[in-house]
Symmetry: D2
Amino acid sequence: MKTLNHSLIINTRFSDTDAMQIVWHGNYVKYFEDGRESFGNKFNLRYMDIYSHGYTAPMVHLELDYKKPVTFNTAIRVEVYYVHTPAAKIIFEYKIYNIKTEELLCTGQSIQVFVDLNGELSLTNPEFYDNWKKEAGLNV
Amino acid sequence: MKTLNHSLIINTRFSDTDAMQIVWHGNYVKYFEDGRESFGNKFNLRYMDIYSHGYTAPMVHLELDYKKPVTFNTAIRVEVYYVHTPAAKIIFEYKIYNIKTEELLCTGQSIQVFVDLNGELSLTNPEFYDNWKKEAGLNV
Amino acid sequence: MKTLNHSLIINTRFSDTDAMQIVWHGNYVKYFEDGRESFGNKFNLRYMDIYSHGYTAPMVHLELDYKKPVTFNTAIRVEVYYVHTPAAKIIFEYKIYNIKTEELLCTGQSIQVFVDLNGELSLTNPEFYDNWKKEAGLNV
Amino acid sequence: MKTLNHSLIINTRFSDTDAMQIVWHGNYVKYFEDGRESFGNKFNLRYMDIYSHGYTAPMVHLELDYKKPVTFNTAIRVEVYYVHTPAAKIIFEYKIYNIKTEELLCTGQSIQVFVDLNGELSLTNPEFYDNWKKEAGLNV
């Protein structure tokens, strides 16, 4: 079956570090989001695409496993894997690597749901999301 | 003439630090904002108060002078001084102290203007702001 | 058996919000850390306490479940629960509530390990940590 | 006389926005720093270059003027201008543009000083900095 994934290069920022002189663990949440938005730009699944169809996609679950620390001004590669599910959810998995050493720095997962503009959780896939899956070549 | 000011105690966060093991200079912008919002809570000049009268108050100028570094888990006092001006602006000055040592850490200034909900800059004081000044005991 | 927990009141910041006009999901990582440091201040398990015994305690796992969104300038209560484990780990669970509505906003868990100053992972409990547990009235 | 400048493209992040649905004003401090580090990578004036010569370069003054708001997922260009001064300082000016519209979003200035590893402010230019200027083709 077809799978969708994407990767993005980021340079870690000085302001991303903490007093341990490494990237603060909370900032990986930003790297995941950067990867997700970059995936969205490539596959037309941006916040704005979702919003234009009358939905938002709030985060309901986030999980991070830290493998190695990284200092600032270091090029990292954020790999984003779309996880196919019949549920009315957007699930991504992530792997972040230090480009120079190819060390695995962090892995993780995020789960988003669909909420319509009245604030109601969508229990089934919104029509636009089924269409998006079809266009992306995924089974619905 | 009457002056308005307010102070707020904050504990610096580990996530506020950078690789120099001190609070990252950009995070003082948050401390200023914390002080400003706390001032707003006390004197009814919150973002929401402004918004409920049909305006937003975007930042147009910000200035910071750094005097001493500070580490994390340190109690600091953010002093906020409202600067009275006839112009259609909200001007604040700030002083941040290390509570324990009474060292002055940072000073600064912010200037906000009024923009109505059509995105038009207000060249004169919005009525609600004149009223707010009167209620606060300031000359209009 | 004795349990250790602690709670902390935080006011959500304007700068914590995102374009959905709610607190950005990544900022809950800061609230967890605020809670953890506040726990550390109360029970003498700060970063600095750990460091003074020759260890750091890097995060290896973080998990967040989002229940309800929250807007800014809202008082929230971060509840921190120390999870007793024989493993050489520091495990916390978190619950964050909207104080006014008592709605549960977010739950989560964090796992930290001990690394000595040569960068070696500690497979058994450092002595100071066993002592800390005893003083805290926990079984070792 | 020769001038040094550099520019960097950044995509604004969702997590950079605030509840006004625009990039939060404090995040321009990060864009300035991104530009400064990118300048440093190009001209060998990174934090690490400075540190390797026994100095740090703390920020002492920062100034920002906001011209236009910008939303997220927007490509911006950070232009960094090195300001030549005989004083023992590193001075940069910044201009940030929306790439698509060529609107000027923000201008600013930063001033850094040199502090040696004993914490003493350097009143004259460190030798390495004079050498750096010469190599860069600037008058000393």
